[in-house]
C-alpha cells in the first residue's frame, strides 16, 4: 500500500501509467456518449407530458452529476495534497476546476433551455437551478484564487483549502436552498416526479452518465499529463522525453 502511494508521488510514474490508461477512457467515453446520444435522441420514447423536450435530460443530468462530483474530487485531491504533499493531486485538482465550471454552466444552460417549454420562461429561481448557480460561483472562486497567487505552492495550498471549505458548505447550501424554495412555494410544476421513468428512458441516461464520467477521467488524465510536463520541464526525464521526440 505505502509502496503504491510512494509511487503515486512520482510524476514520472504517473506519466507512464496514465499513458496506458488514457486511450481506454477515451474509447469508453466516445462509445458511451455516442450510443447514449443516438439511443436517447432517436429511439427512447417521448415523454407523455413534456413530449420531445424531455430529451434535454440526456445532457442536463450527466452535466449536473459531473458538476457536483468534480467539486468533491477537487476537494479530495486538495486534502491529499495538503496531507501527503502529493503534487499530482494538486495538478489534477487544478486541471479539473475549469471542466467542473464548464459542466456547471452546461447544466445551468440546458436547464434554462429546458425551462422554456416546461415553465414558459428561461429562468426560474428553482431550488436546483439556484444551488447550481451558487456552485458555479464556488468554482469561479477557486479558479480565481488559484490565479491570484504568484507563487505556485501558495496558490495550490490556498485553492485546496478553499475547495475543502466549499465542499463542507455545498450540502449546507443545498439543503438551505431547498428549504428556502419550499417555503416560498411558487406555483409551478416540478420535474421531481421522475422516479417512474421507464427503462427505455433511463437506460440511455445511465449510458450518458457513464460516458460523461469516462470523458471527465480521460480529459483530466490528458490535462494532468501536460501539466506534469509543464511543471517538471526542468527535470531530466522530461528533457530526455523531449529529446526522444525530436
Amino acid at each position: 500500500m505505502w509502496a503504491f502511494i510512494n509511487k503515486l508521488r512520482s510524476p514520472k510514474w504517473f506519466y507512464a501509467i496514465s499513458a496506458k490508461l488514457q486511450p481506454f477512457f477515451w474509447v469508453a467515453a466516445a462509445g458511451l456518449i455516442l450510443t447514449g446520444t443516438v439511443w436517447g435522441l432517436a429511439f427512447a420514447p417521448a415523454d407523455y407530458q413534456q413530449g420531445n423536450s424531455f430529451r434535454i435530460i440526456y445532457v442536463h443530468v450527466p452535466a449536473a452529476f459531473l458538476a457536483q462530483s468534480i467539486f468533491v474530487s477537487m476537494a479530495v485531491a486538495g486534502l491529499v495534497y495538503m496531507v501527503w504533499k502529493i503534487k499530482i493531486a494538486d495538478m489534477a485538482a487544478a486541471m479539473m476546476a475549469p471542466l467542473g465550471a464548464a459542466m456547471t454552466f452546461v447544466s445551468l444552460f440546458s436547464g434554462a433551455v429546458w425551462g422554456v417549454p416546461t415553465w414558459g420562461t428561461w429562468w426560474m429561481w428553482d431550488a436546483r437551478l439556484t444551488s447550481m448557480l451558487i456552485l458555479l460561483f464556488l468554482y469561479l472562486g477557486v479558479i480565481a484564487l488559484r490565479g491570484a497567487f504568484t507563487s505556485r505552492d501558495s496558490a495550490s495550498r490556498a485553492a485546496s483549502v478553499l475547495a475543502m471549505v466549499g465542499v463542507i458548505n455545498i450540502p449546507i447550501i443545498k439543503y438551505s436552498v431547498d428549504w428556502w424554495y419550499t417555503l416560498h412555494q411558487p406555483a409551478t410544476f416540478t420535474i421531481t416526479g421522475r422516479a417512474a421513468m421507464p427503462m427505455e428512458m433511463w437506460a440511455p441516461l445511465l449510458i450518458m452518465v457513464l460516458g460523461f464520467y469516462s470523458f471527465f477521467i480521460a480529459l483530466t488524465l490528458m490535462r494532468t499529463r501536460s501539466e506534469i510536463l509543464r511543471r517538471e520541464s526542468n527535470k531530466r526525464w522530461v528533457r530526455d522525453l523531449a529529446g526522444e521526440m525530436r
Partner: protein
C-alpha cells in the same frame, strides 16, 4: 555559529513564555483581544464606515424602487439582511491586512499559543465592532423601511447571531487573500457564496416573525450554523494565514 545562537535564543524565548507564571492561552487571548480593540478604538472611522455604508445602502432602495410603505415592508427583511451582510463584508478586508503589513501577524504565529485560538480572538473583535453594531442599528433602519412591528427584536437577534457566523466564514476568505495586493474583489467572490445559508435563515426568521410563525426554529438553525463555523472555521483560518505568510 551566529545562526545556531539565534536558534538557541529563540528556543529559550519560547521556553520562557511557556513557563511564565499565570501565562498561557488565557493571557495571550486577552492580550490579543485588548490590542485589537485598542487599535480599532484609535481608528474609529474604520468602525463607523460599515455602519454608514449600511445606512446608505438602505437609503438607496426607497429611492430606487418606490417610497410606498407597503412595498417597502414586504422587501424590508431581505433588504436589511443583504445590506448588513454587504456591510460586514466591506470591513473584512482590513481584518488581517494591518497586521500583515506591519508584521505582527508573523509575530502572532511565532507565539507558542495555538494560532486557531488567537485568530478566534481577532474574529471576535471583528464581530464586536461590526456585527454587533450592525445588529443594534438594524431596527432603526427597519423603522425607516416601515418594517411591521413585532419583528424588531428578531431582526436584531438574528443579525447578532448571523453576523457572528459571517465574521467566522469571512475570516477564512480574508486570511486567504491577505497576502494578495488587490484581494478585495476576490474576497467577495470567495465569501459571498458561503454566506447564502446564513442569509436564507436570517432573512427567513424576520419574515417568519412578520407572518407570525415561530421564529425559534430559524434562530436555532442560525445558532447551529454558528456552532458549526465556530468548530471548523478557526482551523481553516489558521491554515490560510500560514499559507498567506509563507507564500
Amino acid at each position: 555559529m551566529a545562526v545556531s545562537e539565534t536558534r538557541l535564543s529563540e528556543k529559550e524565548g519560547r521556553g520562557v513564555s511557556r513557563g511564565e507564571p499565570g501565562g498561557g492561552l488565557a493571557v495571550a487571548l486577552w492580550a490579543t483581544l485588548r490590542r485589537d480593540l485598542t487599535l480599532l478604538m484609535r481608528r474609529r472611522g474604520e468602525v463607523l464606515n460599515p455602519l454608514v455604508f449600511f445606512a446608505l445602502v438602505i437609503t438607496l432602495f426607497p429611492i430606487g424602487i418606490s417610497p410606498d410603505p407597503q412595498l417597502l415592508a414586504t422587501i424590508a427583511p431581505g433588504l436589511l439582511w443583504v445590506a448588513a451582510l454587504l456591510a460586514a463584508l466591506l470591513s473584512l478586508d482590513s481584518l488581517f491586512r494591518g497586521d500583515y503589513d506591519d508584521g505582527s501577524l508573523e509575530q502572532l504565529m511565532l507565539t507558542p499559543q495555538p494560532l486557531p485560538m488567537l485568530a478566534m480572538a481577532k474574529v471576535a473583535v471583528h464581530w464586536l465592532m461590526t456585527g454587533l453594531p450592525l445588529a443594534l442599528m438594524a431596527p432603526i433602519l427597519g423603522i425607516m423601511l416601515s418594517l411591521p412591528a413585532g419583528s424588531y427584536l428578531v431582526l436584531a437577534l438574528s443579525l447578532a447571531l448571523g453576523t457572528a457566523s459571517l465574521s467566522l466564514i469571512g475570516a477564512i476568505g480574508a486570511a486567504l487573500t491577505v497576502g494578495l495586493s488587490r484581494g478585495g474583489v476576490l474576497l467577495s467572490l470567495l465569501v459571498l457564496p458561503l454566506y447564502i445559508p446564513v442569509l436564507i435563515f436570517g432573512a427567513g426568521s424576520v419574515q417568519a416573525a412578520i407572518v407570525g410563525d415561530g421564529v425559534a426554529a430559524h434562530l436555532a438553525i442560525l445558532g447551529a450554523l454558528l456552532a458549526l463555523s465556530l468548530m471548523l472555521a478557526p482551523w481553516a483560518i489558521a491554515a490560510s494565514l500560514r499559507i498567506s505568510i509563507n507564500g
